[in-house]
Amino acid sequence: MNTVASSSAAGMGVEIDDVQSGALRPRPVPYEGKFVFLRVDDRHAGRALLRRLLPVTAGGLPDVDRSQDAWVALAFTYQGLRALGVPQESLDSFPRAFREGMAARAELIGDVGESAPAHWEAPFGTGDVHIALSALSSDAAQLDRELERARVAYEDTPGVQVIWQQEVHQLPTGRTTFGFRDGISHPNIEGVGLPGSNPQEAPIKAGEFILGYPDETGSLPPMPSPDVLGRNGTYAAVRKIHTNVAAWRQYLRANTSSAEEEALLAAKMVGRWPSGAPLTLTPEHDDPELAADPHRNNNFLYRENDDRGFRCPAGAHIRRTNPRDSTIIGDARMHRLIRRGTTYGPPLPEGVLEDDGADRGLVGVFLGAHLERQFEFIKAEWVNDGNFIGYPGEKDPVAGHHGGTGSVTIPEKPVRRRLRNLPSFVVTRGGEYCFVPGLRALRWLAELED
């Protein structure tokens, strides 16, 4: 096993080759991808499927050989592990949030109103989603080859049903449906050997992202038993988010009086310009050159130059969800995530302000060793409340569910701007909490007996 030496005092290397590539490898740019949900109706069939999928499932870091640049990852819901016949004692050892599933936690994480599980797209939240297979590649042909291998495996396994599929791909603009480049930020994880995207971010303990290693508290993250199942695994919150692009554009138009103001207001809500250039580094105008430079486009902190948010508002989406060194209540390093946003659906053509009825948005995957302290905390405290930045009750302007009554404060001299009556620009169409086992753990699952 190829381990990368860690710089930690414990000297613990992360067994990268045992960690699924889907967990640690940053999303390629551009990308093609697909999510497939499977239901296991018979545990023996489920295990047989895992044995067929094992050779298709990739571990480790990016291959220098670009022709190998496609990977399949497997993740399991609590119901899925149960359907595979994982012993009850082991099932009970998983953390509560995972056992309950995302639908049961909807109120806590703010999936209410039109985003409530009652309105979710089937089979999200029904308990039928057992295995979530995802495939990503920088190249459509490579993706097809990998998917074909996976497809043969699950279609040749009676007792296992494909119940949902979603293709995702980068739009020709290289941007999300809202028109912003994403996928820029990736944490600096100790002992993994992948550079973080922010050179100013001190390495974060591997245990924040991978089970079996110390986390920022100095302890091992709670791990399911037996050890072989938990080690080198992680958790993924998978969400399908519909974006109301027309509502977004209409709101921007209605609250500005020129195209320039409109662009600035949008950037203030996101925290980056459409190119991806951060407001903190270029507060007045977009800078595509800066955005294209991976050494610069995420190389910033907030406290020294922008503590009060005159460049990037404290309430902006990227600052809320990754406050870096901002003055906030709490410790930002305890709430880092690996984010994998992927886009689905057709873009709303540029300049169109009326909704065309198409389904578009993103399938987001949020990875970390602590569902509650990371994904759920960020949703409940940072996205859905503003107390931590001194604006109690104010939500993330982009990702919050506002229901027409939201507000957002944009610091400005001499007087701050406060926008009111924000509608929701996103609607949760569904989500699942998944466990992403290491490769040895996958084999353990495949070889369960009874």
Partner: protein, 195 residues
């Protein structure tokens, strides 16, 4: 942190620590044998939404209580009441007796051994006898009384409302106001207005 003094000078020295204007008051009592369930029911009734409204109204009326909690512990044998209040200990107890909170206090403490009743002349001595001063007491806002917090909240809401008016923005741009705007006092206000 010092012992309670100042406003309480007209009264005997009372136990309890203070931090700035905030004082702590904690009493521990013995629950009468067999009364724990009845006490629990009384607390549940106090915690329900309908009662909640009248109590918050009463707290507004008293105007000196920051927070309070009632806790049953030690296997249903003991009871704790803990609170933080402004000003004089004696006024605090007197005020309680006179509001809807007093009646609730009476009911809740009636399950404790030896409680004489909240209107009894000896009630303060009883509380003192059961009070346990904190080893440490800190307030996040030692300079703010409940009344000041209410006022600050009103001022903040009014201030934010002014900031949202076009007239205020126009006034900032009006050269006639330049002198006022340049004063340190107004600059302080604008500091707060910017974020």
């Amino acid at each position: 942190m010092t012992a309670t003094t100042g406003a309480t000078q007209a009264h005997p020295e009372r136990p309890g620590r203070s931090d700035g204007v905030c004082n702590e008051f904690t009493v521990f009592t013995k629950i009468k044998p067999g009364h724990a369930d009845a006490l629990r029911e009384d607390l549940a009734a106090m915690a329900d939404a309908a009662a909640d409204e009248s109590v918050h109204a009463a707290l507004r009326q008293i105007g000196t209580l920051h927070d309070a909690r009632h806790v049953i512990f030690d296997n249903d044998t003991r009871f704790m009441f803990a609170s933080v209040f402004d000003g004089s200990w004696d006024t605090y107890i007197d005020d309680f007796a006179q509001t809807v909170v007093g009646a609730r206090f009476d009911k809740v403490f009636s399950h404790s051994e030896g409680f004489p009743g909240v209107t009894d002349p000896g009630v303060k001595d009883w509380f003192v006898a059961h009070q346990e001063p904190a080893g440490v007491f800190v307030s996040a806002y030692p300079d703010l009384t409940v009344q000041q917090i209410y006022k600050d909240h009103r001022v903040e809401e009014a201030f934010e409302a002014v900031l949202d008016t076009a007239e205020f923005r126009a006034a900032l741009d009006n050269p006639a106001n330049a002198e006022l705007l340049a004063t340190p006092a107004f600059q302080k206000l604008l500091e707060e207005a910017a974020a």
